[in-house]
């Protein structure tokens, strides 16, 4: 009896599959855009784009920037999208090497910087750190939490920044002193910032955290340290397997237009590449972009990421 029921359900499921398979092929063509989870494009903006061009956009969120890139690479024979938005300079090199990349343009950027909890340093009557070198000094022992570069894009960005700042062959000793100064390593940004950072809602035990230059716009009494910041640039571009080349180009133009660029800070916590649009008030006063961010070549990152991470791993596991 039971088995009969299951057979019926399986048959029904299989019929359902074939029906839905037919349904998707008969739909009108649309522009499928693979994006990472933090990309925000509102329904109004998509409606506006449709009014201008007649093209319906379907956003597919495919994980963080790394997951997005690798999914696009792995599915290049059966592409899941016509174009992408959100691959950054730490991964664009991998996409280029894999041969999935068409033309692409920078849309927005952010700076990975240390933040500190002003309140904590005030109550402990201690001066706050001003440089990333300060974090290796004795008075800041056990106060810093950093994301693991092997598990977190934020952590990887800072690792690349230390390579850029100190140079190949010298960055290792910086990390050794950080380790000797009892730095805490968390697997991801959320855990570091929302659980262990004292200046966030989590009220953790660490007053210094690796976050973004924009974070103080959202958390009172926190300050970004403008030293050793990594500039992360996000791109939008065509995919070699994508079908809708013209539509994709129009959409990239749309992403670069003022009407979209001005929404980037509030919705994506990033800075627009366009210099024509003004930053929101809180950003302009509390969370400006870093003035001397470290820029590391994306080809260099892609070529060395593996060996950097292995070295980093060796430092922290011994």
């Amino acid at each position: 009896m039971l088995k009969k029921k299951y057979l019926a359900v399986v048959t029904a499921a299989l019929i359902g599959i074939s029906i839905s398979g037919c349904a998707t092929t008969s739909e009108a063509p649309e522009l499928t855009v693979a994006v990472h989870d933090s990309v925000v494009i509102s329904d109004e903006q998509l409606a506006e784009f449709k009014k201008e061009t007649g093209i319906t956009v379907k956003l597919v969120k495919a994980g963080d920037a790394g997951a997005l890139t690798n999914k696009l690479i792995l599915t290049k024979d059966q592409p899941i999208a016509d174009m992408f938005y959100g691959i950054d300079n730490t991964f664009i090199g991998a996409a280029a090497t894999a041969g999935i990349l068409g033309d692409y343009k920078a849309i927005d950027f952010g700076d990975v910087c240390f933040n500190y909890d002003k309140q904590w340093f005030a109550t402990h009557e201690q001066a706050a750190p001003e440089t990333i070198d300060d974090l290796t000094r004795d008075e800041f022992r056990g106060l810093t939490v950093v994301e693991n570069p092997t598990t977190s894009s934020t952590g990887l960005a800072f690792l690349a920044a230390t390579v850029g700042k100190y140079g190949e062959g010298k960055w290792q000793s910086y990390w050794e002193s950080l380790k000797a100064n009892d730095v805490r390593i968390d697997s991801g940004w959320e855990e570091a910032y929302n659980v262990n950072f004292s200046g966030s809602a989590g009220k953790g035990n660490y007053p210094v955290v690796l976050s973004y230059s924009s974070s103080p716009a959202f958390e009172d009494d926190t300050v970004s340290i403008d030293d050793g910041c990594f500039r992360q640039t996000e791109y939008a571009g065509l995919l070699t397997g994508g079908a809708q080349v013209e539509g994709a180009k129009k959409f990239i133009d749309f992403l670069l237009a003022d009407s979209f660029q001005k929404t980037i800070p509030d919705t994506m916590y990033m800075y627009p590449v366009s210099t024509k649009v003004a930053l929101p008030e809180a950003w302009a006063t509390k969370a400006p972009a870093s003035l001397n961010a470290v820029v590391v070549d994306s080809k260099l990152i892609n070529a060395n990421r593996s060996s950097w991470l292995k070295t980093w791993d060796a430092i922290f596991k011994n």
Binding site: Y6, I73, T75, N148, S306
Partner: protein, 507 residues
């Protein structure tokens, strides 16, 4: 002759299922890795340390589960006390929770402890109920008379345990040990989050070598190492203790007696584990519940983090449960039935292998082989759930007395009639248990889903992971509200089924 052909044809159905949906994808991924001098990875020092760490933590976790689980089984299934069904229902909850939630709960709960301790506690949290329920199920059906007779003959309790009970319990203990060890060897979400990157297991190394570097060579070497470990464990379990006992669900029984005075150490240990390791982390999550978080579940999170609302993701998960559950029940049931009808017990192995193979590897294999359609996730989950279904139904079929069958055949009954009139009613309980476990695998599966389910096809654990690992108090409160609902509903279901069982028996 015709019979044999028919049987062979029947075997072809589940074999085709597992070959296409498991081996093809795995071979395709390994094929990408096993090029150049891939075996060089095996000589790597890092490789050795990862493999030994994985085996070491799994061994310790398993020992811990046995150390606390066997006394737990005794207290919860062999003895009778107030609120017992409540506690039994309670300990089943962690097993169902997405590992990502377990990790977050234990992170806040035990962040001051060393990493390895937190991982061990998390594994105890997740797997305690496997040992308790598997061993407890056999224990409570163990004839009280024998125990009683032994004590009259002057055997002390310890003696009774080793000489009489332990041999009877051994298959269940071996079976639980194998399951827990395999879960801990392939543990992904826990080590990913709680390890904080300071420690890495085979599974997380596979994940990183693929997601960070697309390094198929290293990933394949690790995947092979994991499979070798898995198969060895299966082989050992076959040698020691004929571990055919599956995950039997224990039923209520009135034969157990009250707790004796000298048993209090065992009772207190169990109480400690239940409260400190199981209840407190769950309370951590419940205490973070907010009504606003609940209301927000209809939306897509702050800054449109999700493609779909949490409710829609729940819909996806439910749909996957139905598809994966039906497929696993059908193919798993068929294999179990075929196994019980002939002597080729080695034919079980190709179907059990998915249980010990990295689900991350499987996810990547699917991505390369089948792309990323909506059906891929339930199919992977069906493949992963099938071994569990086999291991629950097969022992139950074996335990059916063959006398019934022979009598029925003598009376002229056909296979279908025997099944319908004799076997099905007796199998109702294990079938239900198998369906429940298959659904649980589908609901909680994260390794493969984290790669395959995205966009508007995201499943509940994937959505929870997104909410928990992204900025925003709103996302956090949504995740906590969803987890709290999960905990409460899982507990409610667990509780109700216990009550229903009890009422049935009283009729």
């Amino acid at each position: 002759m015709g019979r044999n052909l028919q049987k062979l044809a029947l075997w072809a159905v589940p074999l085709a299922f597992v070959v296409v949906l498991f081996y093809w994808a795995i071979v395709k991924l390994l094929g990408l890795g096993l090029q150049q001098n891939w075996f060089a990875v095996f000589g790597d020092q890092h490789f050795h340390s990862v493999v030994w760490f994985t085996i070491g933590q799994a061994t310790l976790s398993t020992l811990l589960c046995l150390l606390f689980g066997v006394p737990g089984a005794y207290v919860l299934y062999r003895r009778k006390f107030f609120a017992q069904s409540f506690i039994r229902a309670l300990i089943a909850v962690p097993f169902v929770l997405p590992t990502i939630v377990v990790a977050i709960a234990l992170q806040t709960f035990a962040s001051s402890l060393p990493t390895i301790i937190v991982i061990l506690i998390a594994h105890l949290f997740l797997n305690y109920s496997i040992v308790v329920r598997t061993v407890g199920g056999v224990w409570q059906n163990f004839d009280k008379e024998i125990e009683y007779a032994a004590s009259i003959d002057g055997a002390n309790q310890w003696h009774t345990f080793w000489r009489i009970m332990f041999p009877a319990l051994r298959p269940a203990i071996v079976s639980a040990t194998v399951l827990v060890f395999l879960y801990c060897v392939t543990s992904f979400g826990i080590i990913l989050l709680l390890g904080g990157g300071k420690v890495s297991s085979i599974e997380t190394e596979i994940y990183f070598s693929l997601t960070q570097f697309l390094d198929f060579k290293t990933a394949s070497a690790f995947a092979i190492a994991q499979t070798v470990i898995t198969v060895s464990v299966f082989a050992l379990s076959k040698v020691y203790g004929n571990a055919n006992a599956g995950l039997e669900q224990a039923s209520e029984s009135d034969s157990s007696s009250r707790i004796k005075l000298r048993e209090w150490p065992v009772v207190l240990t169990t109480a400690f584990v239940v409260i400190a390791v199981l209840v407190l982390p769950m309370l951590q999550v419940l205490m973070r519940f907010s009504w606003q978080g609940l209301l927000d579940l209809g939306g897509t999170g702050s800054r449109q983090l999700l493609n779909i609302s949490v409710w829609q993701a729940t819909g996806n998960s439910l749909r996957n449960i139905v598809i994966a559950g039906c497929l696993a029940m059908f193919f798993g049931g068929l294999v179990a039935w075929l196994l019980s009808r002939n002597r080729w017990s080695w034919l079980e192995l190709p179907f059990l292998l998915p249980m010990g193979v990295s689900s991350v590897v499987l996810g990547f294999g699917y991505l390369i082989t089948f792309g990323a359609g909506w059906l891929t996730v339930p199919l992977v989950q069906a493949v992963l759930a099938t071994p569990l279904v086999i291991r629950i139904i097969h022992p139950a079929l074996l335990s059916l007395s063959s006398e019934y069958r022979e009598e029925a055949i003598m009376a002229g009954a056909g296979s279908w009639q025997i099944w319908r009139l004799v076997e099905a009613p007796l199998l109702a309980q294990p079938l239900r248990a198998a369906a429940v476990y298959a659904s649980l695998v589908s609901l909680g599966e994260f390794g493969a889903a984290s790669l395959l389910s995205f966009g508007d096809q995201a499943t509940l654990p994937v959505v929870l992971y997104q909410l928990i690992s992204r900025p925003g108090a709103q996302n956090y409160s949504m995740a906590m509200a969803a987890c709290a609902i999960l905990i409460i509903s899982v507990f409610a279901i667990s509780m109700t089924s216990a009550l229903v069982q009890r009422r049935r028996r009283s009729f």
